[in-house]
Assembly symmetry: none
DNA sequence: AAAAGATTTGCATGTATTTGCCTGTTTAAA
DNA sequence: TTTAAACAGGCAAATACATGCAAATCTTTT
């Protein structure tokens, strides 16, 4: 029927797939099909060939790295759809040329994955995982703020990131919420994490808080910031949902 | 029938094709045929000649730059086993309480995965992926040296990591080798990467070079360090293998 | 300068690859 | 169990390819 749709050779596709697999240790046929703009059949054949060559391990729906082991276990799918919806809203805040600061978390990861390839912006982040995912986007400049890795929060903590954050000034900061209350504002559990996030807030002109509705109206031990310091609140709910009413006073709901 | 349509000789076409390939990393037969106003047969013959001469890599529908495909595909079954063997040797260098600096690369990743859980040490790294993998080990302290992510090398580059590296002092540095020669020492392709790796070497008391034997006896554009600056050389070969003899003068072979 | 030889190129023929679509089947999750 | 997604295999179309050949051009020789 047709030889090659766009200008990508089979070899290039294979190379791309291998790169993705080396990076993420897994690929989904559907995603590849989308990204490379070829049919799923073609991707299936590609994966079959690579698997035949012993380069990857084929599984139902995609393929895995031959030496897989990876710190990303995305098995709590319960809120997957919500997170996608949140991500969709959050991406609208990203304007071309912006400088953006993000933290870690599955919602953030979901958002980062949904950023279109055409977006051009500069991202700072304290999360290695987010940084790697961002770096997949061709037009993004990604700057990882180093430090000691804290596995429970998946971000870099300590003195170094805090002082580095003090030196930057970004347009927009995306934070997840562990605790969020209309009166008490953002709160956290861990002191070390709070220190870093406070520094993140201080470095940013605007603050967007991203969270699933479950986390609303909860107050945790460590206070992070007041409600009026938050500029945008993004949840999976409709902005007019009455659960969001208490927040409307200070915050723009998306 | 007709020899040359317009005023372009075969050599000129070849030169043009090489220019295009160096510029875009790939060419399409159809495009070239259009652009140069010759038949696709002629282009095919041109590409075949250039491929025979080893200048390019021919693929169905066009050709790719040699350097494009080179660094990507090194995941044969054999190489995988070699990397495990290398990793086993490298781990023996890790003593409890040590401070260690590592770069990126699949061999490094393999090594990091094989580190036993009981090992207690401090790791610095410029690779987000390695950092995440290291952070899986309960007793390791992992410090990620931040900076702008360079996707081709998978490490953080730029001024920041270099100045940060200047502030630390570690017992042992693990480097992979892109080019290694008994007389010329370590070499690299990319300037930006060289800068970071030089800083890594400077911060370290001992230097261990990790590489599969394929990479031995190769010299690349950018020099990284002299052979006598290398303390350990780790390959998948038996230390008594004669291919390693030239290196024994300056370096301890594991 | 003319003839002979070599090279280069386009064309025609038949073959091979690549790819999307179609069918029905298997698989995995709700 | 039911249902949607993923799969395998076959088919058809569009290219891409290899080969042989003849014409045009270039090179060498006479």
């Amino acid at each position: 029927m047709e030889g090659r749709v766009n200008g990508m050779f089979k070899n290039e596709r294979h190379a791309f797939i291998m790169k993705q697999i080396n990076l993420h240790n897994k690929v989904l046929s559907s995603e590849l099909s989308n990204r490379l703009e070829v049919s799923e059949d073609t991707i299936r054949r590609d994966l079959a060939e690579l698997a035949d060559a012993g380069e990857i391990i084929k599984v139902h729906g995609g393929a895995l790295s031959k030496s897989y082991h990876y710190p990303i276990q995305n098995n709590s799918v319960y809120a997957q759809d919500s997170k996608k919806e949140i991500a969709r809203k959050a991406i609208k805040l990203i304007q071309p040329g912006m400088t953006i600061l993000t933290e870690a978390g599955t919602t953030m990861l979901e958002m980062v994955r949904m950023i279109p390839d055409e977006v051009e912006a500069t991202f700072f982040t304290v999360s290695p995982l987010i940084a790697l995912e961002l770096a997949d986007h061709p037009l993004l400049t990604v700057i990882l703020i180093g430090g000691q890795i804290d596995m429970s929060s998946q971000i870099n903590i300590g003195e170094k990131p805090i002082s580095e954050l003090a030196d930057i000034n970004v347009d927009l900061c995306f934070l997840g919420a562990h605790g969020l209350d209309s009166k008490a504002g953002l709160s956290e559990v861990e002191w070390k994490v709070v220190q870093v996030k406070k520094a993140m807030i201080k470095s940013s002109t605007k603050l967007a808080v991203i969270t699933i509705s479950e986390k609303l109206n909860s107050i945790l031990k460590m206070k992070l910031c007041n409600p009026h310091e938050i500029d945008y609140l993004i949840t999976e709910l409709n902005p007019n949902d009455k659960r969001l009413t208490p927040y409307k006073k200070n915050i723009q709901i998306l």
